[in-house]
């Protein structure tokens, strides 16, 4: 490997956003025909670096060499002309357009220089699909396709642009274990055809599995350029966070109480009238954490919306402590003691333009009210807010600060604190730790487990399989709008659950009991 060509050299690259140094004199070398992983915590500067390489950001200093030549990218087109393509973590696709339109966007072949030559473009794209073993429906509209296919669309898009160096930003976050295996096979195939892959991730197992080289970033600096053979997962984690941590929740043994939530034959449609939840059954008991795992888009969003009264189901029933709440509003849910931590933190969970206290009393003002029904009791509001800030370690100069001044982790702690401190009996929690730092994740996990130990029923819906597996007393897998039982805590392996997430056969329950 030593004598391989250096396709990409990053020399002393820096990038500053305001007072934040996102990249500080980064150095790394990528060799042709390898998978080069870049790992680091959220906020370590991985995405910034990749955006610089892909020509989206301009570096504030340093030099980039592609195939030995110094380059100055002014826009993504320059980078793509040099053979660099990027698949973003959030897919950069146009929902209402077809796959074909999506792939050719920006690089259309034309007739007489004016009109799009669809035939020619299609033939070229089909050729790429055939060459690299991608099977994607070119005429389907993007919004109708599952995530795994969308990822392939993104890769084909990059290949169509003639990329030799392909950057993948957290490509496995949205995939099942089996999907990840498929992706890795595709990547290996690409490498065999002479392409180079730069893989950004924070999942150490994957890194060890597929990488030829590893660069570790921490706080915007390189803390290690290593070969996978030289290190193990613990050592990598050490380089990433500066201390030895592997995420494990402290599982607490506790009593499971009465049934709190019961969902029977629930059917929910999305806003386009397509059935997303198809006759789903679920129960959650007091003191129990029920985790729902599944590939994004399997119906978990619609399930939660129906459970919280945001989108009434078309059939089936939801009962809470024996009371029918199928068609209850969000307000009713609040009043009955059901809390909700939404996935969309800044959209549904908090109001960025308001102060912390105004955010903290949202919901509280309905469920608990103030002494006077009409007037806002600023003292009581302040007390409750103080409690949230103190118990959930929200770092803020004052209760009057606007939420937009808080970091993602602090906003999430505030939201979780608000919901957890309201003495709710049922909590619906969606992706509670998405995109926040490891310290905050550990903190929130502990709080969830403590809450369950106090007898609160918790329904955890997460796209992080690891999270579901660590926290849940019982795991359910959602696939195509239906639930499948996936064992109690630590009963099934990641691989077995992954199979269920892909719609694999249900595990024989008697088998589990025997084991």
């Amino acid at each position: 490997m030593e004598n391989m060509e250096n396709v990409l050299e990053i020399i002393n690259v820096s990038k500053v956003f305001g007072s934040l140094v996102a990249n500080n004199k980064i150095n790394m070398t990528v060799k042709k025909g390898t998978v080069h992983s870049i790992i680091g915590e959220n906020g370590a500067g991985k995405s910034t670096l990749m955006n610089i390489i892909a020509g989206i950001y301009k570096p504030d200093g340093g030099e980039i060499k592609v195939k030995g030549k110094t380059v100055h990218f002014k826009n993504p087109n320059n980078a793509s002309d040099c053979g660099i393509g990027m698949v973003h973590q959030e897919f950069m696709l146009f929902d209402d357009l077809t796959v074909l339109d999506n792939v050719m966007m920006g690089r259309e072949r034309t007739k007489t220089g004016i009109f799009i030559d669809k035939k020619k473009t299609r033939a070229e794209i089909q050729e790429i699909c055939d060459k690299y073993n991608f099977n994607i429906p070119l005429d389907s509209v993007v919004k109708d396709l599952p995530v795994a296919i969308l990822q392939q669309v993104e890769i084909v898009k990059v290949l169509y642009r003639g990329a030799d160096i392909i950057i993948l930003d957290e490509p496995t976050a949205v995939l099942t274990p089996q999907g990840i295996e498929g992706l890795f096979n595709a990547l290996r195939f690409l490498i065999s055809k002479g392409k180079t892959i730069i893989l950004i991730t924070h999942k150490l197992g994957e890194v060890m599995e597929i990488s030829d080289y590893i660069t570790v970033l921490k706080d915007g600096q390189v803390t290690g350029n290593v070969l996978p053979s030289e290190v193990d997962e613990e050592k990598l984690a050490g380089l990433m966070v500066g201390r030895e941590v592997l995420l494990n929740a402290q599982h607490i043994e506790k009593e499971i109480g009465d049934e709190v939530l019961k969902v029977t034959d629930l059917v929910v449609q999305d806003k386009d009238g397509i059935e997303r939840v198809k006759g789903l059954n679920l129960t959650v008991h007091a003191g129990e954490v029920v985790g729902i795992a599944g590939v994004a888009g399997s119906g978990q969003k619609e399930l939660v919306e129906a459970l919280y009264g945001l989108n009434p189901p078309v059939a089936g029933s939801i009962t809470y402590k024996g009371e029918d709440i199928t068609h209850a509003s969000c307000r009713d849910h609040r009043c009955k003691g059901i809390g909700y931590v939404p996935q969309d933190r800044l959209g549904a969970g908090a109001n960025r333009e308001s102060s912390i206290w105004e955010n903290c009393i949202m919901g509280y003002h309905v469920a608990h009210g103030f002494k006077n029904k009409l007037l806002l009791d600023r003292k009581e509001a302040g007390e409750f807010t103080g409690e949230v800030i103190k118990d959930f370690a929200v770092k803020t100069p004052s209760q009057e600060s606007k939420v937009r001044t808080l970091s993602g982790g602090n906003v999430q702690k505030m939201i979780v604190g608000r919901e957890f401190l309201q003495k709710n009996d049922l909590l619906i929690i969606e992706d509670p730790t998405r995109g926040i730092d490891i310290g905050a994740i550990e903190f929130i996990w502990q709080k969830i487990l403590q809450l369950a130990a106090q007898g609160v029923a918790v329904l955890l819906v997460s796209h992080e399989l690891n999270e579901v597996m660590e926290l849940s007393d019982r795991i359910e897998v959602i696939y195509d709008g239906k639930l499948t039982y996936a064992g109690a805590y630590r009963e099934l392996t990641e691989q077995q659950i992954g199979l269920l997430m892909m719609g694999g056969k249900a595990v024989d329950k008697t088998q589990i009991k025997k084991d």
Binding site: C330, R331, R334, N351, S354, H365
Partner: protein, 365 residues
């Protein structure tokens, strides 16, 4: 801690003040250019405005007269905009309110105070009713309220004119400019504050509305909910606010205040409903709310400025060769200047400057 907070707030306040001053200076410069373009000495025209608006008690009375509808329509806009409802139909709601006040004012005679109250309430209710249509369309069918309210403005002007024709029967003139309901009873007239002027007690109604709206937002749970719904609808819904109810009530309150504005115009100034009387009072309110950044007391301040400009511009037209439309134009420009994001421009300039420095350092390497 307090020191820290003071330090933090101060630059913001300074910046806001700076922004208004800057906007005012720029607008004055443009006004001067426009005035000289019309062959008049800018200083003469501008002093005519000030004198005409504040020079004597007569002038002040008429300034108050113009400040009243500005405050009321401004508050109607504030209530809507603060909660994210783009009610551009204040003009139309105002017409309906004015018509109702005109009819109640002439059709029955009541004890003075009672008569005024019934007229105002009727005006508010008519304004409110006219805002039901866009509210329902938005709530249940997601029809953009800006377009519907705009269209309903045109319809309101025509419909109130039609109603006036009905009320007047065969005696209605052919000329739409002269269409009006019979004069209201004296018992329905708002008392004049300064004799010989049109400055009337409507100002107290306007002030009351400002204070009530301010108190609602500052101290009540409902006000808290209204603000949250405006800033983040999904968040409020998840938080248990009855968003649909809140949304409709915002529209209705806004329409109610707009209706009152029309009513006060009829009771305080015109003494009867005249078709096409408003000349964009509703739009003034929308501009004022925008300039005042939806702050109730800001509306009060800007409305006084607007009142001065309106009253002063008429005086200016009398004593100089300058057309008073110059001032209307200037008001719209003022809105543009105040709503510009100066921080963004500063950032842009800094970026350009910064970039140059970077490129240089790149070459040095």
């Amino acid at each position: 801690m307090t020191k820290l907070r003071l330090k933090k707030i101060n630059p913001d306040v300074k910046f806001e003040v700076f922004k208004y001053v800057l906007a005012f200076v720029m607008v004055t410069i443009i006004a001067s250019v426009l005035i000289s373009f019309q062959g008049e000495e800018p200083s003469k025209a501008l002093s005519a405005i000030v004198k005409g608006a504040l020079g004597n008690s007569y002038a002040i009375g008429n300034t108050i007269r113009w400040t009243i509808p500005c405050i009321l329509s401004g508050m109607a806009a504030v209530v809507a905009f603060k909660s994210g409802v783009m009610n551009l139909g204040i003009e139309g709601q105002l017409y309906f309110g004015a018509f109702a006040a005109g009819v109640v004012g002439y059709i029955i005679e009541l004890p003075p105070l009672l008569h005024i109250i019934s007229c105002i309430v009727a005006a508010g209710i008519f304004g409110l009713l006219y805002s039901v249509i866009p509210a329902i369309l938005k709530l249940y069918f997601q029809v953009n309220e800006m377009i519907t309210t705009l269209m309903l403005n045109y319809i309101a002007i025509l419909l109130t004119e039609l109603f006036t024709v009905w009320v007047m029967g065969a005696t209605a003139g052919v000329n739409p400019d002269l269409l009006a309901t019979p004069p209201i009873y004296a018992s329905a007239k708002l008392p004049v504050l300064i004799k010989g002027t049109q400055g009337n007690a409507g100002i107290f109604i306007a002030l009351a509305v400002v204070i009530i709206v301010f108190l609602i937002y500052k101290y009540t749970i409902k006000g808290y909910e209204l603000k949250q719904v405006g800033e983040n609808l999904k968040f409020s819904k998840v938080g248990g606010v009855n968003v649909a109810k809140t949304f409709v009530s915002i529209f209705l309150i806004s329409g109610f205040i707009a209706g009152i504005c029309g009513g006060v115009e009829v009771l305080g100034t015109h003494g009867k409903f005249t078709s096409r009387f408003s000349s964009n009072l509703g739009w003034d309110g929308i501009m004022i709310a925008m300039v005042a950044k939806n702050n109730p007391f800001g509306v009060l301040g800007i409305s006084i400025l607007w009142g001065i400009l309106k009253c002063g511009s008429m005086a200016m037209e009398r004593v100089t060769n300058t057309n008073r439309l110059t001032v209307s134009l200037i008001q719209a420009l003022f809105v543009l200047f105040v709503t510009v994001d100066y921080k963004k421009i500063a950032g842009m300039l800094r970026d350009k400057f910064g970039k140059k420095k970077l490129e240089l350092s790149g070459e040095v390497k």
